[in-house]
């Protein structure tokens, strides 16, 4: 039997093990090592706890994040209440949130074919200006799905948020689309 040495079990391998990415023989070797090595077992336990904490932070609505539409579908299928706004390029919307909403998402339609890097610029009358650089997106999706922190939106009074999508190619930037959200408390 090949012995999995303690120094070999670093974060990356433990993560791949935990997520079921290793072949069966490799996984069994790590199973055996973990039962014999309290240090590696504790390290895996810490990784599992961190993953659970990330999940909890997300589910409790503390994160603003850009996510693919398929992922949002899974959240809806899981039973979360998701308030959705659909905006064409250049669109604006009056929006709100209720105590029952778990998430608020915006579908921002935009032509993204050929875009290599996409940044999101936010100008918020409450929190100021922000720039999210190099967001994850699928050029073929025809737009972007953004999720705004539920905790933040629930704390808002009447406010306005302007969102701009910018395509970046080297030092050149090109505005892809603008959107306006007029928020009113429920």
């Amino acid at each position: 039997m090949t012995r999995a040495k303690c120094s070999d079990l670093q974060t990356q391998e433990l993560t791949e093990y935990w997520l079921g990415e290793l072949d069966e023989a490799h996984e069994q070797r790590i199973d055996e090592h973990l039962f014999a090595c309290a240090a590696c077992s504790a390290r895996l336990g810490a990784l599992v706890d961190l993953g659970a904490a990330i999940r909890r932070t997300f589910v409790e609505g503390w994160l603003s994040i850009v996510l693919p539409e398929q992922f949002l579908r899974r959240i809806i299928d899981a039973g979360f209440q998701v308030r959705e706004y659909h905006l064409p390029a250049g669109g604006s919307v009056n929006c709100t949130i209720t105590p029952d909403d778990d998430f608020v998402v915006s579908y921002l339609r935009a032509p993204l074919q050929g875009v290599k890097r996409l940044d999101v610029l936010i100008d918020d009358t409450t929190s100021g200006k922000h720039r999210a650089t190099d967001v994850a997106f699928d050029p073929a999706a025809g737009g972007l799905v953004t999720m705004t922190s539920t905790a933040y939106v629930k704390s808002l009074k009447q406010s306005q948020q302007r969102v701009r999508l910018v395509a970046v190619d080297g030092v050149e930037e090109r505005v892809v689309a603008d959107y306006t959200f007029n928020h009113y408390p429920s």
């Binding site: 039962f35 999940r55 190099d134």
Partner: protein, 207 residues
């Protein structure tokens, strides 16, 4: 080869990390030494405290259920104590192999039969069994600090970590939803975890 007197289906041997296992073996020897006239309750409790978290993690990994993992931990520890008291484990040095073999076979049995538990609890007090969260485990994660550190991550890393740990998805599944390669997702995930850990440690140091 397994070290249980009865015929065993587990034909493997765990190679032990000596520094961690010596204590397990010493505890097993104490339990065997006392049986059957009397119990060494302190040794039994300590052995359960040491091995319980490892069994629980194995259970969560392979059963993807906290409740099932807790059941697995109980059943394996009870069977271990039973065998140690009966003197059925001939070589205390193989106690960890016995635990892994039992856990592995129990998971296989549960999957095969759909049944989750074969109870021996009537024979043993359950106060020996460690709670699901070990007392000497790591410090609980500071939720507020984590929110700040997640918020400070680059967008792609935050998205990949959330998509991964929302329901423990492998890289190829996350990659398919993002239009990236699995290798690229692994790199982003690894960087994100390292950056997140670094941020949490720095915040902790500054506190």
């Amino acid at each position: 080869m397994f070290s249980v007197a009865t015929a065993s289906p587990y034909a493997f041997r765990v190679t032990l990390e000596a520094s961690d296992v010596d204590d397990d073996v010493a505890l097993a020897q104490r339990i065997i030494g006392c049986a059957p006239e009397r119990r060494d309750a302190a040794a039994e409790a300590e052995l359960c405290r040491r091995l319980g978290p490892r069994i629980r993690l194995y259970g969560i990994k392979h059963l993807r259920s906290e409740a099932a993992a807790a059941d697995l931990m109980q059943d394996v520890l009870i069977l271990l104590l039973d065998k140690l008291r009966e003197g059925a484990v001939r070589e205390p040095s193989q106690v960890v192999s016995f635990v892994l073999g039992t856990a592995r076979q129990t998971v296989i049995d549960w999957r095969r039969s759909g049944a989750r538990r074969t109870r021996l609890l009537e024979k043993f007090p359950i106060d020996l069994l460690p709670s699901e969260s070990s007392d000497d485990g790591p410090e609980p994660i500071d939720a507020q600090r984590l929110r700040g550190c997640l918020g400070a991550l680059p967008e792609r890393e935050r998205a990949v970590l959330v998509m991964t740990f929302y329901d423990d998805r492998p890289a190829d599944a996350v990659a398919a939803e993002l239009g990236l390669s699995a290798g690229n997702v692994r790199v982003i995930r690894h960087r994100g975890l390292e950056r997140l850990r670094g941020c949490m440690a720095a915040e902790e140091g500054a506190a």
